[in-house]
């Protein structure tokens, strides 16, 4: 797989892409995709499970279009997952500090999350850092 460059990331990265129909019944495939990445990146079980839950939470909260694409950008020290496009920013909206919102979920489950706009709509980026040595958590 040739290295690609993405303006949203710090440097060259290897990218693995999955596109699924925008329907909840395909979310399991996205989880398996993360499972495959975890095996490839030597992520610990707990990190993998957290990332799966983060991605699943985004897909359940967001307004899904006809298709959803999950792009995994693999780097030496981690992985950034871009998921989209969405018609609306899943992180936007009125803040309810008393609620367990997507933002709080993501801040617990992954190292960073951010929404970015592209021509085709809103994408959400989930970052996972891998500490030196195998088994990240």
């Amino acid at each position: 797989m040739p290295p690609v460059s993405d303006p949203g990331l710090s440097g060259p990265a290897e990218t693995v892409t999955l596109t699924i129909p925008g329907q909840p019944r395909y979310i399991g495939i996205a989880r398996m995709f993360v499972g495959g990445l975890a095996a490839r990146l030597d992520l610990g079980y707990e990190t993998m499970d957290d990332l799966q839950l983060a991605l699943e939470s985004v897909l359940r909260k967001a307004e899904l279009g006809e298709h959803v694409t999950v792009e995994a950008h693999l780097e030496d020290d981690g992985v950034s997952i871009l998921v989209g496009p969405f018609a609306h920013d899943p992180l936007a909206g009125e803040r309810h500090p008393e609620r367990l919102e997507l933002e709080r979920l993501l801040s617990t489950l992954v190292a960073g999350s951010e929404s970015t706009m592209r021509d085709d709509g809103c994408w959400l980026r989930l970052d996972v850092r891998i500490p030196a040595g195998s088994g990240s958590a």
Partner: protein, 255 residues
């Protein structure tokens, strides 16, 4: 009916709890009868569920037996407790039936992985990787990923379904009776929309994970359950909360 000294003490404790609301008497009854619950749970081990999960279910059955025991019936507590505990375990198996057909090898591998994750996490002081799990289980990495995913195929019975036929209490309310201790540790934040729809144990787990930042492993250790079980409970709790929020949204729209 001639009673042994233990049975006399048990009856006194039941009386103290039911007639005077003495919760310390209930705690003593639970403690004294936990070996019984464990023994019953062991009978159902090896049928696809972890023993520690079964012990927990049996303990819930025990607490229900204590709460529902009728002193006027004139039967020994154990005569009532054993079928109540067994019933709780059977209900657990029924609720946990596989929703879709999952090959036996994956079910078995899933059970093996659950134990391996627990053992290896303690040994390595971190979560094992997929490669390490595959090596320990003697299977390919893809099979590990597949087996872990297969556990998501569990049937999730609605927590708002009646706890039992004819009961006005739903499952969440009965769980609330069981684990009152968790209620006392609640943070005010847990009055949040959606979270109030959870049972006390799920609420506690959500609090520990998302408000106090504990990892799954730390929660598993604190509650004495497996890490995979914590993962399942987190997902189930989030699903319940999502349903509750959606229902709230619909209600608001209808108003």
């Amino acid at each position: 009916m001639s009673l042994s000294p233990n049975q006399v003490e048990e009856t006194e404790l039941l009386r103290a709890y039911h007639e005077r609301g003495d919760t310390s008497a209930r705690d003593k009854l639970v403690e004294a009868n936990l070996p019984l619950a464990r023994a019953i749970a062991r009978r159902y081990a090896g049928r696809g569920e972890l023993l520690d999960d079964l012990v927990q279910v049996a303990s819930i059955g025990l607490i229900k037996a204590i709460d529902r025991f009728d002193l006027e019936r004139g039967v020994f507590f154990r005569t009532y407790a054993v079928p109540t505990i067994v019933g709780e375990i059977k209900r657990h198996f029924r609720d946990r039936a596989w929703a879709v057909h999952v090959p036996r090898r994956l079910k078995e591998l899933n059970q093996m992985l659950s134990s391996l994750i627990q053992d290896m996490s303690a040994q390595l002081e971190r979560s094992p990787t997929i490669a390490e799990l595959a090596e320990a289980a003697g299977v390919e990495e893809e099979e590990v990923v597949e087996a872990l995913e297969s556990s998501r195929a569990y049937t999730a019975e609605s927590l708002t379904a009646p706890a039992e036929e004819g009961s006005e209490l739903d499952r969440m309310q009965t769980l609330g009776v069981v684990e009152e201790a968790f209620e006392r540790t609640e943070d005010q934040q847990l009055l949040a929309v959606g979270i109030q729809a959870l049972g006390p144990r799920e609420r506690k787990i959500i609090q520990l994970r998302f408000y106090e930042g504990l990892t799954q492993t730390q929660i598993a250790n604190e509650l004495g359950i497996s890490q995979m079980h914590v993962s399942r409970l987190i997902r189930r709790a989030l699903e319940t909360m999502r349903d509750e929020l959606e229902r709230g949204g619909i209600d608001a729209e209808e108003r």
